[in-house]
């Protein structure tokens, strides 16, 4: 299983040091759209330089290398326990090399043992499917942007948000307003309409696995995604909250069933340092191809 561990270390390195193409394209377009000579344009230019420098030096794009979250899709019969063990070993090794910062703190004692391992760290989600393919996706989710995530319970009287799509739109835009200047925008929203308090946030995060320029297969959600993106970018919040045209780079929304008594809208915010990658693995655990 050493090949598997090595593959996962390489997955961590590339995720931490290289922005995926779809995100980079969105940032380049954002820079083109901002007026020359504005502070919004300067901010995006520094972001571009930073992306280039991190890639060249194989060093973390941002010093907060975030929560380490793996999503594994595997065939029936795949050894999930061994895979989780390899993930832990890979995280430990990647931390030693410096692809990950010593970033995991014991919540009770405040101690950081420098390994990035502990209860809930890293997170490994395994999911079986009928295909024979093994794929591992990785997200490094920074703390600053995690802090501006929000969960609304509808109806939300103050925002005049009822239990319908218009109510969802209102609370999602409120979250964008509240997040301004924090969470290192321009950001990307992952949203789940419905679910419970735990699954709502879980599904909202999984939306970040989608390609930034894909379209939602559900026409209603697709329309809502496009509307929120357009409206948010008309608010003038801009990169870093400096003012400007680019407040969000993307919006991804899913829906999950709820119980009649609850109606949650859960919103996860991802900073511009959108670190996610994925690989498919061969039978020995070697990397076959990159997914983003």
């Amino acid at each position: 299983m050493n090949a598997l561990k090595d593959s996962l270390v390489e997955l961590i390195r590339r995720t931490s040091a290289e922005i995926p193409d779809d995100v980079n394209r969105a940032l380049v377009t954002a820079l083109e759209n901002e007026k020359k000579g504005t502070i919004a344009a300067s901010a995006l230019k520094i972001i571009e330089q930073n992306i280039e420098l991190a890639k060249r030096k194989s060093q973390p794009i941002c010093q907060d290398t975030g929560s380490v979250i793996f999503y594994v899709d595997c065939p029936v019969g795949f050894d999930q326990i061994a895979c989780e063990e390899a993930a832990r070993e890979a995280v430990k090794a990647a931390t030693k090399i410096g692809y990950l910062r010593q970033n995991s703190v014991d919540s009770l004692t405040g101690k950081n043992d420098g390994t990035n391992l502990g209860p809930g760290a890293p997170v490994v989600h395994c999911h079986q499917h009928r295909s024979s393919e093994i794929s591992v996706r990785l997200m490094l989710k920074g703390g600053g942007c995690e802090n501006v995530g929000a969960q609304y319970s509808l109806p939300a009287e103050k925002l005049h948000a009822n239990r319908d799509l218009d109510g969802c739109r209102k609370v999602i835009l409120d979250a964008v307003l509240q997040a301004q200047g924090k969470g290192c925008g321009p950001g990307i929203l992952g949203v789940c309409i419905g679910g419970d308090r735990a699954t709502g946030y879980e599904y909202s995060k999984q939306q970040f696995l989608r390609m930034l320029d894909d379209r939602n297969a559900n026409p209603e959600l697709d329309a809502l995604e496009q509307d929120i993106l357009k409206t948010a970018n008309e608010l003038g919040i801009g990169p870093m909250g400096f003012g400007g045209k680019t407040t969000l780079l993307g919006v991804k929304i899913c829906a999950a069933n709820r119980v009649p008594a609850s109606f949650f809208v859960s919103i996860s915010y991802m900073c511009w340092a959108f670190r996610r990658q994925g690989v498919t693995l061969g039978a020995e655990g070697e990397i076959e191809k990159w997914l983003y």
Binding site: G142, L177, C184, T231, G236, G241
Partner: protein, 191 residues
């Protein structure tokens, strides 16, 4: 870009206004949660550290110790400043600070202290750890490394052409307040 060079005099700082882009060169000291709380509670600065006409940088850098005992800075992005809001005004007043570098902006107490004592808030680009680390030319010293741990220590850095934006000036203006008010109004029209 307006060059801002050490020592950061009151005249230099008062000449800046919200929205100005600056390029900072000279000596700055890092300080985050532990340092702010300690100074607020009456703690003294260690010998060798003076914030008079100086800049405090909200940053927990990643430092690699070199074989010869010196340090190399490998990541140096700003951390969220608002956590220091309860303390910052007093540190500006008591220690003669002229500039605070951080991210996310600060509140009314800091805004008032900037106006009264002649200080500015300088917003660095959040997440740009590599670009900003390149601006650190030398790690001159470290204080309180034992007491507070490396990210929370006071690091004395020599920086060159460090880019930042003035988002709170010494005249009572805050870009954060302006953008918030404008975006709230824009959203109200679109609901």
């Amino acid at each position: 870009m307006i060059p801002l060079t050490f020592p950061f005099t009151e005249a230099q700082v008062r000449a800046l206004k919200v929205g100005d882009e600056v390029s900072i060169s000279g000596i700055v000291f890092t300080g985050r949660d532990a340092v702010h709380k300690y100074l607020h509670e009456g703690g003294a600065l260690p010998p060798g550290v003076s914030l008079r006409d100086g800049i405090i940088y909200h940053c927990g850098p990643v430092m690699m110790k070199q074989p010869d005992g010196t340090y190399k800075c490998t990541a140096a992005g700003p951390t969220t400043s608002i956590r220091e809001e309860p303390y910052q005004w007093q540190i500006i007043r008591d220690f003669g600070v002229r500039g605070v570098i951080g991210k996310g902006g600060m509140g009314d107490k800091t805004l008032a202290a900037c106006k009264e004592h002649g200080c500015v808030y300088l917003h660095a680009i959040g997440g740009a750890a590599q670009v900003l680390a390149e601006c650190v030319k030398q790690v001159r010293n470290v204080y309180f490394a034992e007491e507070f741990g490396s990210p929370e220590a006071i690091w004395e850095l020599e920086i060159e052409n460090f880019p930042a934006v003035v988002t709170i000036d010494a005249h009572g203006h805050s870009l954060h307040k302006e953008v918030l008010a404008a975006s709230q109004a824009a959203l109200a029209e679109r609901l």
